[in-house]
Amino acid sequence: MLELPTFILTAWGLATVLTLFLLVRIFLHRMYRRYPFFTFYLGANLLQTAVLSFLYQPYGFSDTTHGCGSAWATQAFVVVARGFAAAEVSYRILGKFKGVWALAMKTLIACGAIVLISTLYFGTRSYPLAVITLEMSLEGFIATWIVGSLLFARYYEVPVEPAAGMVGLGLGLLSCCRLLNDLVFERHVQAYLDVWNYVSGVAFLCVLLLWNWYMRGPATQTAHDPQLNTVQVYQSLIPQVNRKLAELNQQLSRFWRTESPKP
Protein backbone atom coordinates (compact mmCIF):
# COMPACT_ATOMS: atom_id res chain seq x y z
CA MET A 1 0.00 0.00 0.00
CA LEU A 2 1.57 3.23 -1.15
CA GLU A 3 1.33 6.29 1.04
CA LEU A 4 0.75 9.78 -0.14
CA PRO A 5 3.65 12.20 0.25
CA THR A 6 3.87 13.75 3.72
CA PHE A 7 3.69 17.27 2.32
CA ILE A 8 0.43 16.52 0.53
CA LEU A 9 -1.11 14.95 3.60
CA THR A 10 0.00 17.95 5.70
CA ALA A 11 -1.38 20.40 3.15
CA TRP A 12 -4.70 18.58 2.97
CA GLY A 13 -4.87 18.45 6.76
CA LEU A 14 -4.14 22.16 7.11
CA ALA A 15 -6.62 23.03 4.36
CA THR A 16 -9.30 20.97 6.11
CA VAL A 17 -8.69 22.71 9.44
CA LEU A 18 -8.64 26.18 7.86
CA THR A 19 -11.79 25.47 5.85
CA LEU A 20 -13.56 24.28 8.99
CA PHE A 21 -12.48 27.45 10.86
CA LEU A 22 -13.77 29.54 7.98
CA LEU A 23 -17.10 27.74 7.83
CA VAL A 24 -17.57 28.12 11.59
CA ARG A 25 -16.92 31.86 11.30
CA ILE A 26 -19.30 32.14 8.33
CA PHE A 27 -22.06 30.47 10.33
CA LEU A 28 -21.31 32.47 13.48
CA HIS A 29 -21.49 35.79 11.61
CA ARG A 30 -24.45 34.55 9.53
CA MET A 31 -22.61 35.32 6.33
CA TYR A 32 -24.07 32.18 4.69
CA ARG A 33 -27.23 34.22 4.04
CA ARG A 34 -25.35 36.73 1.90
CA TYR A 35 -22.86 34.23 0.39
CA PRO A 36 -24.68 30.88 0.08
CA PHE A 37 -22.74 29.74 -3.01
CA PHE A 38 -19.41 30.59 -1.43
CA THR A 39 -20.38 28.61 1.67
CA PHE A 40 -21.39 25.71 -0.56
CA TYR A 41 -18.05 25.93 -2.38
CA LEU A 42 -16.15 25.62 0.91
CA GLY A 43 -18.27 22.63 1.84
CA ALA A 44 -17.56 21.07 -1.55
CA ASN A 45 -13.83 21.49 -0.93
CA LEU A 46 -14.08 19.69 2.39
CA LEU A 47 -15.95 16.87 0.77
CA GLN A 48 -13.40 16.65 -2.03
CA THR A 49 -10.52 16.37 0.44
CA ALA A 50 -12.25 13.49 2.16
CA VAL A 51 -12.97 11.72 -1.13
CA LEU A 52 -9.42 12.21 -2.47
CA SER A 53 -7.88 10.87 0.73
CA PHE A 54 -10.08 7.82 0.44
CA LEU A 55 -9.26 7.33 -3.27
CA TYR A 56 -5.52 8.00 -3.26
CA GLN A 57 -4.38 6.71 0.11
CA PRO A 58 -4.39 3.02 -0.93
CA TYR A 59 -2.56 3.54 -4.25
CA GLY A 60 -0.76 6.92 -4.21
CA PHE A 61 -0.67 9.35 -7.12
CA SER A 62 1.39 7.25 -9.49
CA ASP A 63 -1.35 4.69 -9.99
CA THR A 64 -3.59 6.19 -12.65
CA THR A 65 -6.04 3.32 -13.07
CA HIS A 66 -7.69 3.32 -9.67
CA GLY A 67 -9.81 6.29 -8.73
CA CYS A 68 -8.26 8.79 -11.15
CA GLY A 69 -11.53 9.35 -13.04
CA SER A 70 -13.48 9.78 -9.80
CA ALA A 71 -10.86 12.21 -8.48
CA TRP A 72 -11.18 14.38 -11.59
CA ALA A 73 -14.95 14.22 -11.33
CA THR A 74 -14.73 15.72 -7.84
CA GLN A 75 -12.43 18.41 -9.24
CA ALA A 76 -15.00 19.28 -11.93
CA PHE A 77 -17.64 19.58 -9.21
CA VAL A 78 -15.44 21.91 -7.13
CA VAL A 79 -14.54 24.09 -10.15
CA VAL A 80 -18.21 24.50 -11.06
CA ALA A 81 -18.99 25.37 -7.41
CA ARG A 82 -16.20 27.96 -7.55
CA GLY A 83 -17.74 29.35 -10.72
CA PHE A 84 -21.07 29.84 -8.97
CA ALA A 85 -19.32 31.48 -6.02
CA ALA A 86 -17.55 33.84 -8.43
CA ALA A 87 -20.86 34.79 -10.05
CA GLU A 88 -22.34 35.41 -6.60
CA VAL A 89 -19.47 37.73 -5.62
CA SER A 90 -19.81 39.57 -8.90
CA TYR A 91 -23.52 40.09 -8.24
CA ARG A 92 -22.80 41.33 -4.69
CA ILE A 93 -20.42 43.94 -6.13
CA LEU A 94 -22.39 45.19 -9.14
CA GLY A 95 -25.92 43.83 -8.83
CA LYS A 96 -27.41 46.93 -7.18
CA PHE A 97 -26.48 49.04 -10.20
CA LYS A 98 -28.85 47.51 -12.70
CA GLY A 99 -27.62 49.24 -15.84
CA VAL A 100 -23.94 48.59 -15.20
CA TRP A 101 -24.66 45.03 -14.04
CA ALA A 102 -26.50 44.25 -17.30
CA LEU A 103 -23.60 45.69 -19.33
CA ALA A 104 -21.00 43.91 -17.19
CA MET A 105 -22.75 40.55 -17.54
CA LYS A 106 -22.84 40.72 -21.32
CA THR A 107 -19.23 41.90 -21.52
CA LEU A 108 -17.89 39.36 -19.03
CA ILE A 109 -19.77 36.44 -20.56
CA ALA A 110 -18.37 37.38 -23.97
CA CYS A 111 -14.80 37.79 -22.66
CA GLY A 112 -15.01 34.64 -20.57
CA ALA A 113 -16.35 32.67 -23.54
CA ILE A 114 -13.44 33.91 -25.71
CA VAL A 115 -10.95 32.81 -23.04
CA LEU A 116 -12.68 29.44 -22.60
CA ILE A 117 -12.92 28.67 -26.32
CA SER A 118 -9.35 29.83 -27.05
CA THR A 119 -7.96 27.69 -24.26
CA LEU A 120 -9.91 24.65 -25.44
CA TYR A 121 -8.81 25.26 -29.03
CA PHE A 122 -5.13 25.94 -28.45
CA GLY A 123 -4.66 23.64 -25.47
CA THR A 124 -3.12 20.23 -25.76
CA ARG A 125 -5.48 17.85 -27.49
CA SER A 126 -4.10 14.57 -26.30
CA TYR A 127 -6.60 12.44 -24.44
CA PRO A 128 -4.65 12.07 -21.16
CA LEU A 129 -4.33 15.87 -20.89
CA ALA A 130 -7.86 16.69 -22.03
CA VAL A 131 -9.03 17.05 -18.45
CA ILE A 132 -6.21 19.50 -17.70
CA THR A 133 -7.14 21.54 -20.78
CA LEU A 134 -10.77 21.60 -19.71
CA GLU A 135 -9.83 22.69 -16.20
CA MET A 136 -7.58 25.42 -17.60
CA SER A 137 -10.39 26.81 -19.72
CA LEU A 138 -12.84 26.85 -16.80
CA GLU A 139 -10.31 28.49 -14.50
CA GLY A 140 -9.57 31.06 -17.20
CA PHE A 141 -13.29 31.82 -17.46
CA ILE A 142 -13.65 32.26 -13.70
CA ALA A 143 -10.53 34.44 -13.41
CA THR A 144 -11.72 36.64 -16.30
CA TRP A 145 -15.13 36.97 -14.71
CA ILE A 146 -13.83 37.96 -11.27
CA VAL A 147 -11.16 40.36 -12.49
CA GLY A 148 -13.57 41.86 -15.01
CA SER A 149 -16.11 42.54 -12.24
CA LEU A 150 -13.47 44.24 -10.11
CA LEU A 151 -12.35 46.34 -13.09
CA PHE A 152 -15.94 47.42 -13.77
CA ALA A 153 -16.27 48.37 -10.09
CA ARG A 154 -13.07 50.39 -10.27
CA TYR A 155 -13.97 52.17 -13.52
CA TYR A 156 -17.43 53.15 -12.28
CA GLU A 157 -16.11 53.88 -8.75
CA VAL A 158 -18.53 51.44 -7.18
CA PRO A 159 -17.88 50.94 -3.46
CA VAL A 160 -17.07 47.29 -2.78
CA GLU A 161 -17.95 45.60 0.51
CA PRO A 162 -14.72 44.36 2.11
CA ALA A 163 -16.18 40.82 2.38
CA ALA A 164 -17.06 40.71 -1.32
CA GLY A 165 -13.66 42.14 -2.22
CA MET A 166 -11.72 39.59 -0.20
CA VAL A 167 -13.78 36.63 -1.38
CA GLY A 168 -13.50 37.82 -4.98
CA LEU A 169 -9.76 38.42 -4.68
CA GLY A 170 -9.24 34.95 -3.21
CA LEU A 171 -11.33 33.24 -5.88
CA GLY A 172 -9.63 35.21 -8.64
CA LEU A 173 -6.12 34.48 -7.36
CA LEU A 174 -6.93 30.82 -6.89
CA SER A 175 -8.19 30.53 -10.46
CA CYS A 176 -5.13 32.39 -11.80
CA CYS A 177 -2.76 30.12 -9.82
CA ARG A 178 -4.48 26.97 -11.02
CA LEU A 179 -4.49 28.24 -14.60
CA LEU A 180 -0.75 28.98 -14.52
CA ASN A 181 -0.05 25.72 -12.74
CA ASP A 182 -1.96 23.73 -15.35
CA LEU A 183 -0.27 25.62 -18.20
CA VAL A 184 3.18 24.65 -16.97
CA PHE A 185 2.06 21.11 -16.22
CA GLU A 186 0.61 20.70 -19.72
CA ARG A 187 3.96 21.67 -21.22
CA HIS A 188 6.30 19.76 -18.92
CA VAL A 189 4.21 16.84 -17.78
CA GLN A 190 6.88 14.46 -16.57
CA ALA A 191 9.17 16.93 -14.86
CA TYR A 192 6.39 18.96 -13.25
CA LEU A 193 4.01 16.27 -11.98
CA ASP A 194 5.05 16.34 -8.30
CA VAL A 195 5.47 20.13 -8.22
CA TRP A 196 2.00 20.54 -9.72
CA ASN A 197 0.37 19.00 -6.65
CA TYR A 198 2.50 21.05 -4.26
CA VAL A 199 1.78 24.35 -6.02
CA SER A 200 -1.93 23.61 -6.13
CA GLY A 201 -1.98 22.77 -2.41
CA VAL A 202 0.05 25.81 -1.37
CA ALA A 203 -2.06 28.19 -3.46
CA PHE A 204 -5.27 26.97 -1.83
CA LEU A 205 -3.69 27.19 1.64
CA CYS A 206 -2.61 30.80 1.04
CA VAL A 207 -6.09 31.81 -0.10
CA LEU A 208 -7.66 30.07 2.92
CA LEU A 209 -5.27 31.98 5.20
CA LEU A 210 -6.29 35.22 3.49
CA TRP A 211 -9.98 34.50 4.02
CA ASN A 212 -9.47 33.39 7.61
CA TRP A 213 -7.41 36.48 8.38
CA TYR A 214 -10.03 38.75 6.89
CA MET A 215 -12.95 37.06 8.68
CA ARG A 216 -11.30 37.09 12.10
CA GLY A 217 -13.77 39.82 13.16
CA PRO A 218 -17.48 40.28 12.41
CA ALA A 219 -18.26 41.76 9.00
CA THR A 220 -20.09 45.00 9.76
CA GLN A 221 -19.67 47.08 6.61
CA THR A 222 -22.35 46.57 3.99
CA ALA A 223 -22.91 48.72 0.93
CA HIS A 224 -26.07 50.86 0.95
CA ASP A 225 -28.65 50.48 -1.76
CA PRO A 226 -28.10 53.26 -4.31
CA GLN A 227 -30.90 55.54 -5.41
CA LEU A 228 -31.09 55.13 -9.17
CA ASN A 229 -32.01 57.98 -11.51
CA THR A 230 -34.58 57.69 -14.24
CA VAL A 231 -33.38 56.34 -17.57
CA GLN A 232 -34.08 59.76 -19.21
CA VAL A 233 -31.13 61.29 -17.37
CA TYR A 234 -28.73 58.85 -19.02
CA GLN A 235 -30.41 59.05 -22.41
CA SER A 236 -30.28 62.87 -22.37
CA LEU A 237 -26.77 63.43 -21.11
CA ILE A 238 -24.52 60.67 -22.29
CA PRO A 239 -25.00 61.08 -26.06
CA GLN A 240 -24.21 64.81 -25.56
CA VAL A 241 -21.05 63.94 -23.67
CA ASN A 242 -19.93 61.53 -26.36
CA ARG A 243 -20.60 64.07 -29.12
CA LYS A 244 -18.57 66.68 -27.25
CA LEU A 245 -15.73 64.24 -26.74
CA ALA A 246 -15.70 63.45 -30.45
CA GLU A 247 -15.58 67.18 -31.28
CA LEU A 248 -12.82 67.67 -28.75
CA ASN A 249 -10.79 64.91 -30.29
CA GLN A 250 -11.30 66.36 -33.77
CA GLN A 251 -10.02 69.68 -32.44
CA LEU A 252 -7.02 67.98 -30.93
CA SER A 253 -6.16 66.17 -34.14
CA ARG A 254 -6.32 69.50 -35.98
CA PHE A 255 -3.91 70.99 -33.45
CA TRP A 256 -1.55 68.17 -34.06
CA ARG A 257 -1.66 68.79 -37.79
CA THR A 258 -1.40 72.62 -37.18
CA GLU A 259 -4.54 73.36 -39.20
CA SER A 260 -6.63 76.40 -38.39
CA PRO A 261 -9.65 75.66 -36.20
CA LYS A 262 -13.09 75.88 -37.79
CA PRO A 263 -15.18 78.87 -36.62
Binding site: F97, K98, G99, V100, A102, L103, K106, V115, F122, G123, T124, M136, G140, A143, V147, L150, L151, A153, R154, Y156, E157, P159, V160, E161, P162, G165, G168, L173, C176, C177, L179, L180, L183, V184, E186, P226, Q227, L228, N229, V231, V233, Y234, S236, L237, I238, Q240, V241, N242, K244, L245, A246, E247, L248, N249, Q251, L252, S253, F255, W256, T258
Partner: protein
Protein backbone atom coordinates in the same frame (compact mmCIF):
# COMPACT_ATOMS: atom_id res chain seq x y z
CA UNK B 1 6.54 21.39 -41.31
CA UNK B 2 2.97 21.11 -40.04
CA UNK B 3 4.33 19.70 -36.80
CA UNK B 4 6.75 22.64 -36.55
CA UNK B 5 3.95 25.14 -37.03
CA UNK B 6 1.80 23.37 -34.46
CA UNK B 7 4.68 23.42 -32.01
CA UNK B 8 5.26 27.13 -32.60
CA UNK B 9 1.57 27.90 -32.10
CA UNK B 10 1.58 25.81 -28.95
CA UNK B 11 4.60 27.70 -27.61
CA UNK B 12 3.01 31.03 -28.51
CA UNK B 13 -0.21 30.03 -26.76
CA UNK B 14 1.79 29.02 -23.69
CA UNK B 15 3.56 32.38 -23.40
CA UNK B 16 0.43 34.40 -24.15
CA UNK B 17 -1.60 32.38 -21.64
CA UNK B 18 1.06 32.72 -18.92
CA UNK B 19 1.28 36.47 -19.52
CA UNK B 20 -2.53 36.73 -19.42
CA UNK B 21 -2.69 34.72 -16.18
CA UNK B 22 -0.08 36.93 -14.52
CA UNK B 23 -1.81 40.05 -15.82
CA UNK B 24 -5.16 38.88 -14.44
CA UNK B 25 -3.61 38.22 -11.02
CA UNK B 26 -1.97 41.66 -10.99
CA UNK B 27 -5.13 43.42 -12.19
CA UNK B 28 -7.19 41.83 -9.43
CA UNK B 29 -4.98 43.56 -6.82
CA UNK B 30 -4.95 46.83 -8.73
CA UNK B 31 -8.71 46.85 -9.27
CA UNK B 32 -9.37 46.26 -5.57
CA UNK B 33 -7.15 49.08 -4.29
CA UNK B 34 -9.19 51.56 -2.31
CA UNK B 35 -12.42 49.73 -3.16
CA UNK B 36 -13.97 49.90 0.31
CA UNK B 37 -13.09 53.62 0.65
CA UNK B 38 -15.05 54.62 -2.44
CA UNK B 39 -17.90 56.85 -1.42
CA UNK B 40 -21.43 56.70 -2.80
CA UNK B 41 -22.26 58.62 -5.95
CA UNK B 42 -24.79 61.17 -4.74
CA UNK B 43 -22.23 63.84 -3.89
CA UNK B 44 -20.47 63.60 -7.26
CA UNK B 45 -23.35 65.15 -9.17
CA UNK B 46 -22.85 68.29 -7.07
CA UNK B 47 -19.66 68.88 -9.07
CA UNK B 48 -21.90 70.12 -11.87
CA UNK B 49 -23.06 72.99 -9.67
CA UNK B 50 -19.65 74.64 -10.02
CA UNK B 51 -19.05 75.58 -13.64
CA UNK B 52 -15.33 75.85 -14.43
CA UNK B 53 -14.18 79.28 -13.24
CA UNK B 54 -11.26 79.48 -15.66
CA UNK B 55 -13.69 81.24 -18.00
CA UNK B 56 -13.23 84.38 -15.84
CA UNK B 57 -9.56 84.62 -16.85
CA UNK B 58 -9.97 83.89 -20.50
CA UNK B 59 -9.22 87.39 -21.78
CA UNK B 60 -5.96 87.57 -19.81
CA UNK B 61 -4.94 84.12 -21.01
CA UNK B 62 -5.83 85.06 -24.57
CA UNK B 63 -3.65 88.17 -24.38
CA UNK B 64 -0.77 86.28 -22.83
CA UNK B 65 -0.87 83.83 -25.74
CA UNK B 66 -0.77 86.57 -28.39
CA UNK B 67 2.56 86.49 -30.34
CA UNK B 68 2.27 90.22 -31.12
CA UNK B 69 2.53 90.85 -27.40
CA UNK B 70 5.93 89.13 -27.29
CA UNK B 71 7.14 91.10 -30.29
CA UNK B 72 6.17 94.32 -28.53
CA UNK B 73 8.05 93.22 -25.38
CA UNK B 74 11.12 92.39 -27.48
CA UNK B 75 10.99 95.75 -29.23
CA UNK B 76 10.63 97.66 -25.97
CA UNK B 77 12.62 95.59 -23.50
CA UNK B 78 15.09 93.55 -25.54
CA UNK B 79 15.63 89.80 -26.03
CA UNK B 80 16.12 89.11 -22.34
CA UNK B 81 12.66 90.40 -21.47
CA UNK B 82 11.13 88.60 -24.43
CA UNK B 83 12.66 85.23 -23.52
CA UNK B 84 11.63 85.62 -19.87
CA UNK B 85 8.09 86.46 -20.89
CA UNK B 86 8.00 83.51 -23.29
CA UNK B 87 9.17 81.18 -20.52
CA UNK B 88 6.61 82.45 -18.03
CA UNK B 89 3.80 82.38 -20.53
CA UNK B 90 4.66 78.82 -21.47
CA UNK B 91 4.26 77.97 -17.79
CA UNK B 92 0.89 79.70 -17.79
CA UNK B 93 -0.12 77.78 -20.92
CA UNK B 94 0.85 74.51 -19.26
CA UNK B 95 -1.19 75.37 -16.20
CA UNK B 96 -4.07 76.31 -18.47
CA UNK B 97 -3.74 72.97 -20.22
CA UNK B 98 -3.81 71.23 -16.84
CA UNK B 99 -7.02 73.12 -16.03
CA UNK B 100 -8.53 71.92 -19.32
CA UNK B 101 -7.61 68.38 -18.41
CA UNK B 102 -9.19 68.76 -14.97
CA UNK B 103 -12.44 70.06 -16.45
CA UNK B 104 -12.47 67.20 -18.89
CA UNK B 105 -11.84 64.57 -16.22
CA UNK B 106 -14.51 66.09 -14.00
CA UNK B 107 -17.06 65.91 -16.81
CA UNK B 108 -16.07 62.32 -17.52
CA UNK B 109 -16.48 61.47 -13.86
CA UNK B 110 -19.97 62.92 -13.78
CA UNK B 111 -20.83 60.96 -16.92
CA UNK B 112 -19.64 57.78 -15.18
CA UNK B 113 -21.77 58.54 -12.14
CA UNK B 114 -24.80 59.14 -14.34
CA UNK B 115 -24.17 55.80 -16.04
CA UNK B 116 -23.79 53.87 -12.79
CA UNK B 117 -26.99 55.35 -11.34
CA UNK B 118 -29.00 54.61 -14.47
CA UNK B 119 -31.26 51.54 -14.63
CA UNK B 120 -30.27 51.10 -18.28
CA UNK B 121 -26.91 51.66 -19.87
CA UNK B 122 -26.02 51.51 -23.54
CA UNK B 123 -22.92 49.44 -24.29
CA UNK B 124 -22.20 51.34 -27.49
CA UNK B 125 -22.34 54.73 -25.70
CA UNK B 126 -20.07 53.51 -22.91
CA UNK B 127 -17.60 52.05 -25.35
CA UNK B 128 -17.65 55.25 -27.41
CA UNK B 129 -16.95 57.34 -24.33
CA UNK B 130 -14.04 55.13 -23.29
CA UNK B 131 -12.64 55.26 -26.80
CA UNK B 132 -12.96 59.04 -27.06
CA UNK B 133 -11.47 59.63 -23.62
CA UNK B 134 -8.46 57.42 -24.43
CA UNK B 135 -7.95 59.34 -27.67
CA UNK B 136 -8.23 62.63 -25.81
CA UNK B 137 -5.66 61.62 -23.23
CA UNK B 138 -3.21 60.43 -25.88
CA UNK B 139 -3.55 63.55 -28.00
CA UNK B 140 -3.44 65.75 -24.90
CA UNK B 141 -0.05 64.32 -24.01
CA UNK B 142 1.18 64.94 -27.55
CA UNK B 143 0.04 68.57 -27.43
CA UNK B 144 1.59 69.04 -24.02
CA UNK B 145 4.84 67.72 -25.44
CA UNK B 146 4.69 70.22 -28.30
CA UNK B 147 3.97 73.02 -25.88
CA UNK B 148 6.98 72.04 -23.80
CA UNK B 149 9.26 72.32 -26.81
CA UNK B 150 7.61 75.65 -27.66
CA UNK B 151 5.92 74.57 -30.89
CA UNK B 152 2.23 75.08 -30.26
CA UNK B 153 -0.31 77.26 -32.10
CA UNK B 154 -1.50 79.19 -29.05
CA UNK B 155 -5.00 80.33 -29.99
CA UNK B 156 -6.09 76.73 -30.37
CA UNK B 157 -5.47 76.23 -26.66
CA UNK B 158 -8.25 78.68 -25.93
CA UNK B 159 -10.59 76.88 -28.36
CA UNK B 160 -9.70 73.58 -26.72
CA UNK B 161 -10.57 74.95 -23.30
CA UNK B 162 -13.84 76.36 -24.56
CA UNK B 163 -14.87 72.97 -25.83
CA UNK B 164 -13.99 71.16 -22.61
CA UNK B 165 -15.82 73.76 -20.51
CA UNK B 166 -18.92 73.87 -22.70
CA UNK B 167 -19.37 70.14 -22.07
CA UNK B 168 -19.68 70.81 -18.33
CA UNK B 169 -21.98 73.78 -18.89
CA UNK B 170 -24.29 71.79 -21.15
CA UNK B 171 -24.45 68.94 -18.68
CA UNK B 172 -25.36 71.36 -15.91
CA UNK B 173 -28.13 72.90 -18.01
CA UNK B 174 -29.58 69.52 -18.96
CA UNK B 175 -29.46 68.33 -15.35
CA UNK B 176 -31.29 71.51 -14.29
CA UNK B 177 -34.01 70.92 -16.92
CA UNK B 178 -34.40 67.32 -15.83
CA UNK B 179 -34.60 68.43 -12.22
CA UNK B 180 -37.37 70.90 -13.09
CA UNK B 181 -39.28 68.20 -14.96
CA UNK B 182 -38.92 65.77 -12.06
CA UNK B 183 -40.18 68.41 -9.60
CA UNK B 184 -43.15 69.17 -11.87
CA UNK B 185 -43.97 65.47 -12.23
CA UNK B 186 -43.82 65.03 -8.45
CA UNK B 187 -46.13 68.00 -7.93
CA UNK B 188 -48.63 66.69 -10.48
CA UNK B 189 -48.59 63.28 -8.84
CA UNK B 190 -49.21 64.90 -5.44
CA UNK B 191 -52.12 66.92 -6.78
CA UNK B 192 -53.73 63.90 -8.43
CA UNK B 193 -53.52 62.01 -5.11
CA UNK B 194 -55.40 64.81 -3.35
Amino acid sequence: MAHGVAKAVNSLFFFVAVAAGLALAGMSFWALRGASQRKGHGHCLGALDSVPRDLDYMSQIRQSLDPADLEFAKAKGGRHLESRLRRERRQVSLLYLAAIRRDFEQSLRVARVIAVLSPEVSGSQEYERIRQSMMFRWRFQMIKGRLLIGNMPQPQLVALWQMASSMAVQMEQTMAKLGERAALAAELALQSEK
